[in-house]
């Protein structure tokens, strides 16, 4: 038996033991004696998943192309870290990664559950069983028949060949896996009719889920920004939405649990949110991997195999119906306590904030599902434009940001006196107004674009940032461990401010450059200075060298946007282009090569010939006799749209044709087609108005041997002000989340009383019950 066959075997073993664990944990809920065996079965499932993942990694590292998966996503010339990454580059691998984290998180979970263990682990093991069953239907360990084993793998998509590929999927899949934890605990709570204990256990895991999913989303956004070249970090793509929606719900749950803990309310909605997180992601998985949204997503997931897809649907239906059904069934017995006591109370602020988050999640979900919904309702598929997400979510985002700014000044237990409250918010409020006025003045004098909606959004973000920063400052001196939430809020304010400013004040400039030709953009003179590896157009990691010389005494630099041909498939070389980002404290200069430039560069690889010619002259070039009749000028004189054409009479084998190659100042040119094939072009930098001379470039003529001396590079530069606030904000969010997670992991077990005669009797719990979390098992340490 070879390694891959062992892999298939352990997948089956894992499936069987996860199912066994589910059954045994369910039995243990009735009779404690089953608990030990349930844990053993779960441990076996974990061991199988870890082994399976280890085998897949080993196969990828060894470039074993007998395995279909490895041949599809790896090749022997990859460095080790990309071989490693190919273990999760495809469908099967990413499901295995999901199962891997689910299994491991279960080990962390099981030790903190105490009396919740049997029921929670029943649900949790069943989710693991589903994932493993999907892997039996869509196995990463399929083998080629011996006669069809390819000699070399297809390689990893160059867009994925980035160190983010080693970081982003492993991170975000911890978050996806962690979604199952609040779900499982909530189901156990509903079965046990325990309306508060579950919240204590779930809290640290909810934060863990929030941090990992959030970090995954951020890393994905940053990855898109630095490699994809369209200049944004968030595109409301279905795959992005399918992670964002559960993350927003988990954010709501996290805050709901805080309310429950402090005020003893929101029992019903907290259970509901805990029950929605995981099914929402199952739904997203179905939508993005079934091909249902294939026409509106740029993420390249192929449809799952039929059996596997059926299991994903079954998974979604089972947990949605089961969770919601149980919740509805128990609804009347769940206590419902009024918490909000007045308009100016933290209770109301939290509740409204949670509503805003959940509504944003819901509207996003509806938008993303529109192709399917419209097909069901109107029999005609429709998708929403990206602007839908901005328009629909905006009112809720405004309220959300306002609340974010008010929360630091509200307290749990009392309704604020209006005057005192206004007094307290005055500092950040006036600071915000001053900043707002300054921005308004600057916008007026610099004639920046203005829009009331964006302006209000930015001011609210500034307000939220300032008021939370004030509180963070105070807490940092008194009790740093309690500042996590507010630090996160500062981060959220900065992210939204940076996102709004960098998109709204973005400026764009385009130019087509050739050898010796320059363009001016954003105070720089830009010049094309060759390729980093001039001799190998097809060479990997080749880049275009663009010299940016400052016109006003600032720093000059050389931008090197990546641009090369990937030739793993020699029949169909593919362009790979990645932007170059020039970082400044106040802005990013985002420099992308229109990959289409490639079209031109390719053509320019054709040998070309040059022929300087004055107006009125007649010259010969190969089989052509060319007479330069006149200039033909269009557009505003000296303006950016001014184009100069050279009217030529071309005689070829006794036939005369009039041709007009055109050059546009500072932008490019349009060649004219020559009779007999080939093209003739003039370049703007070679037009000599005084001498009335142009240089004709002939391309694609028969029998040419010399290389052209012109390479053409279309450059697109975007100036993105304040984008660094986004990255700074995301770091603060994660730092704040990390602090909160550490705090909750450290305190949660202390608060749960161990009723006498619970699973402990069944023995086998290592360590002393609940004085301290067992070292090495808490995510916070």
């Amino acid at each position: 038996m070879n390694t891959a066959e062992w892999g298939r075997l352990v997948i089956y073993l894992g499936t069987a033991s996860a199912i066994t664990a589910t059954v045994l944990f369910a039995l243990a809920a009735k009779q404690e004696r089953w608990l030990l065996w349930a844990r053993r079965a779960y441990a076996l499932a974990v061991a199988s998943v870890v082994t399976a993942f280890g085998i897949l990694i080993a196969l990828c590292m060894r470039s074993d192309f007998r395995v279909v998966y490895v041949a599809n996503f790896s090749s022997s010339d990859l460095p080790w870290y990309y071989k490693l990454s190919s273990a999760w580059a495809g469908q099967e691998g990413s499901f295995l990664l999901w199962a891997f984290w689910t299994a491991l998180l279960g080990l962390l979970l099981v030790r903190r559950l105490q009396r919740y263990e049997p029921l929670t682990m029943t649900v949790y093991s069943s989710i693991l069983a589903f994932l493993m069953a999907i892997l039996t239907k869509q196995s990463p360990f399929l083998l080629y028949p011996p006669s069809e084993v390819p000699p070399e793998g297809m390689g990893l998509n160059p867009l994925l060949q980035n160190y983010w590929m080693a970081i982003h999927p492993p991170t975000i899949f911890i978050g996806f896996a962690a979604l199952a934890i609040p779900f499982s605990i909530a189901v156990a709570a509903l079965l046990r009719k325990d309306w508060d204990g579950w919240a204590q256990i779930a809290m640290p895991f909810v934060i863990l889920c929030w941090v990992t999913l959030g970090a995954g989303l951020i890393l994905g956004g940053y990855w898109a920004y630095v490699t994809l070249g369209w200049g944004g970090f968030w595109g409301w793509d279905p795959v992005e939405n399918s992670s964002l929606v559960p993350w927003l719900v988990i954010t709501g749950l996290m805050h709901g649990l805080v309310v429950q803990r402090n005020r003893g309310g929101l029992h019903r909605s907290n259970l509901l949110m805990a029950l929605l997180g995981a099914p929402l992601f199952f739904y997203g998985t179905y939508m993005t991997r079934s091909g249902a949204l294939a026409e509106s997503s740029v993420h390249a997931f192929d449809a799952l195999a039929k059996g596997a897809l059926g299991l994903v649907v079954a998974m979604f239906v089972t947990y949605t119906a089961g969770g919601l059904g149980l919740w509805l069934f128990r609804l009347r017995s769940i206590p419902s306590k009024q918490t909000a006591e007045g308009v100016l109370s933290r209770d109301l602020a939290f509740s409204l904030g949670i509503i805003a988050l959940v509504v944003i999640a819901g509207l996003t979900l509806i938008g993303a599902s529109m192709p399917v919904i419209s097909h069901l309702i109107a029999k005609q598929s429709s998708a929403v434009d990206v602007s839908y997400y901005h328009l629909a979510n905006a009112p809720f985002a405004y309220v959300f940001l306002l609340l974010l700014g008010l929360v630091p000044f509200l307290s749990w237990h009392k309704v604020e006196n209006t005057d005192a409250f206004i007094q307290r918010i005055s500092a950040p409020w006036y600071a915000t107004l001053v900043i707002g006025l300054a921005v308004a003045f600057v916008s007026y004098f610099l004639r920046l674009p203005t829009a009331v909606g964006v302006f209000v959004l930015m001011l609210l973000a500034v307000f939220a940032t300032l008021s939370n920063a004030m509180l963070v400052w105070r807490l940092a001196q008194r009790s740093p461990m309690s500042m996590g939430g507010y630090l996160t809020h500062v981060g959220v304010g900065l992210v939204l401010l940076g996102a709004a400013a960098s998109a709204f004040y973005e400026q764009k400039a385009e130019a087509v450059l050739t050898n010796g030709m320059t363009a001016e953009m954003f105070g720089f003179r830009v010049r094309y200075a060759g390729m980093t590896h001039p001799d190998e157009e097809m060479g990997k990691d080749n880049a275009v060298r663009l010299k940016f010389e400052s016109l006003n005494g600032g720093t000059s630099f050389e931008a090197r946007p990546v641009y090369y041909f990937d030739t793993h498939n020699p029949m169909q070389p593919r362009r790979v282009a990645e932007p170059y980002i020039y970082k400044h404290a106040l802005y990013d200069m985002y420099i992308a090569i229109g990959s289409d430039g490639a079209g031109v560069i390719e053509r320019m690889q054709d040998p070309g010939k040059t022929l300087p010619i004055r107006r009125g002259e007649t010259k010969k070039m190969g089989d052509y006799t060319v007479h330069f009749k006149n200039f033909q000028i269009q557009g505003t004189m000296g303006g950016p749209d001014m184009s100069i054409g050279a009217v030529l009479d071309v005689e070829y084998r006794g036939k005369k044709t009039e041709l007009v190659p055109v050059a546009v100042l500072g932008r490019g040119w349009k060649p004219a087609k020559l009779p007999g094939g080939g093209e003739v072009a003039i370049f703007p930098d070679e037009i000599n108005a005084n001498e009335r001379q142009v240089v004709l470039h002939f391309f694609g003529m028969p029998g040419q041997t010399t290389m052209p001396d012109h390479i053409i590079v279309p450059v697109e530069v975007k100036l993105k002000p304040l984008i660094n606030l986004v990255w700074l904000g995301t770091m603060l969010m994660m730092l704040g989340g990390g602090i909160a997670m550490r705090r909750r992991f450290a305190e949660a077990p202390l608060r749960i009383q161990e009723p006498a005669g619970t699973p402990e009797a069944a023995g086998k719990r290592r360590g002393k019950p609940r004085t301290k979390p067992v070292p090495g098992m808490t995510g916070g340490h």
Partner: protein, 130 residues
């Protein structure tokens, strides 16, 4: 107490109303070429790239091509940008935009290229937008 609830309900109702309006404003139906010709608003048309019709115009900075839908109807498309990526290898193109005169002006195009990275039959979408 009552006041707090009223605020919450009023806020949700107003927000949802605006969201509904946003949905109506931004919905973009998938249509055939024949339907696209009759359309006035924004639509998306899917079709195959007619071989040889792709033209990159570096003067006007636009990409022009013709797509052919499942019924065999052909539609000239103008994308007011030099498209990124490997459009010429596209097997299928989704153009999102509106009719202007006889041509379809696509503010965004999604195109599917045969991708060897995802196995033999797999396809990969790329995107270019203004």
């Amino acid at each position: 107490m009552k006041k707090a609830y009223l605020i919450a309900i009023g806020f949700i109702a107003l927000g949802l109303l605006m969201a509904g309006r946003a949905m109506i404003q931004t919905i973009v139906p998938y249509v055939s070429v024949a339907q696209a010709r009759q359309s006035h608003g924004k639509v998306q048309v899917k079709g195959q790239l007619v071989p040889g019709s792709l033209e990159m115009d570096h003067v006007q900075m636009q990409t022009r091509f013709i797509i052919q839908d499942a019924q065999g109807d052909r539609l000239p498309v103008v994308h007011p940008k030099l498209a990124q990526g490997n459009v010429e290898q596209a097997t299928e193109i989704v153009a999102i935009g509106r009719m202007e005169g006889d041509a379809f002006v696509a503010e965004k195009i999604l195109y599917k290229c045969p991708s060897k990275y995802q196995g033999k039959q797999m396809q990969e979408y790329q995107e270019s937008s203004q």
